[in-house]
Amino acid sequence: MTPPDDIVRAVEALLFASAEPLSVDSLRAYVGGGDVRAALERLEADYAGRGVALVRRGDRWHFQTAPDLAHLLRRDREEPRRLSRAGVETLAIIAYHEPVTRAEIEAIRGVQISKGTLDVLMEAGWVRPAGRREVPGRPLLYATTPAFLAHFGLASRRDLPGLDDLRAAGLLDPVDLMPEGAHVGAFAVEKDDDSD
């Protein structure tokens, strides 16, 4: 940029350092007179197309980062997290029974689902809302996504082992039964171990 004159530099520095947007009057009070409006116009032109823009809000002026760069100001960092037991069980029920309502999942698990569990599965991209069941209350249905199949290396849901396969694999042996005190029918609210 061409070096600006004194009043432009002063207005630029004042707007930059101020904790508040500044009006033309208060800018004038700081720089002690001169054509503040012309300085603002010059700055507006100088900063056009840059990463920082001079903007007017009402009768006050301030600098802000260019709106199209707002996404840069946050950086996402991914951290691997293991799904909780509640999450895995809920996912399994949805995969075997889809589409299925939350109430049905709870009836099958015998434990209420805490709020975060379905959120986590949807955040992971493995579960999606899949319409509503046309019964009173029209409860939301849940189903798995293509990303679920991709993550678990399945060509289709039919590749999930059936009950007979599970029995043959010894996975139906009631070894590790249910969480303490959570009897089928008598709902206990599961621990919120999957919510953070």
Partner: protein, 241 residues
């Protein structure tokens, strides 16, 4: 109750004998490398003497320094004794170096403080939005976990078939046949219990229930008569006459 003289000294605020020496040296108004150590020593000793006259309490280290400077002065004035280590000229030089070093740091500090300081002379942005780092979880689970979980749930929900093994019962048919046959052999009123077969407690209970129903059925058919004196009293049977 500070005396005026002490007040003056305190206000000068020397931080130790080295600081006082430096102040005296700078009062010579020459480059520190060109000062006369001898003159400086005499000024210091005069200062300490004056403080004593004014009955000022000088900290011990000022007196220790005075004693050492008095020694240095005499060593510098007397003819050089090659046996004495270290050389007094060398000692004087080291003292001068210490004063230079302290002075250099004092001036460097002043220059630092006079720089354009952030928040005093130059300013950062007044309302920085700040940058954010969003942590996102990449959720992980294995297919085995999902399958095993389903197995676990199925196991706990599987319909349970109740098979009661080896249960001793007497059916109504058996009881009817038995009592019908036995009634013919009894002539008078006989208690229901006496018709029951021997056996386990469990079998007798079952036999009692089915025999009672059998007795009612026989009475209904007109083949038997029943008699009971009071509620819960023994129940008597005999063949219908």
């Amino acid at each position: 109750m500070a005396e005026p003289e002490q007040l003056t000294l305190d206000l000068d605020g020397w931080e130790g004998p080295l600081d006082l020496l430096l102040s005296l040296a700078r009062a010579q108004k020459v480059d520190l490398r060109a000062i006369s150590i001898l003159a400086l020593v005499e000024q210091y000793l005069r200062f300490v003497d004056r403080a004593k006259v004014l009955r000022l309490e000088l900290a011990a280290d000022y007196l220790v320094m005075a004693a050492w400077l008095a020694y240095l002065k005499s060593a510098l004035l007397l003819p050089r004794d090659p046996e004495v280590e270290p050389d007094p000229e060398e000692l004087a030089l080291r003292l001068q170096l210490r004063l230079e070093r302290l002075n250099a740091m004092r001036e460097a500090g002043a220059r630092l403080m006079a720089r354009d300081r952030l928040g005093r002379d130059v300013f950062p942005r007044g309302r920085a939005e700040g940058l954010r780092t969003i942590r996102r979880a990449r959720w992980q689970a294995e297919l085995y976990d999902v399958i095993a979980a389903y197995g676990r749930i199925s196991a706990r929900n599987r319909p349970v078939m109740h098979v009661v093994a080896d249960r001793e019962v007497m059916t109504l048919e058996t009881a009817l046949a038995r009592i019908g046959a036995l009634l013919g052999t009894r002539l008078d009123w006989t208690t229901l219990e006496s018709f029951l077969p021997d056996g386990s407690d469990r079998l007798r209970k079952s036999a009692l229930a089915s025999s009672f129903l059998a007795a009612l059925e026989l009475a209904k058919q007109g083949r038997a008569e029943l008699r009971q004196a009071a509620p819960f009293a023994p129940l008597y049977l005999r063949a219908a006459s």
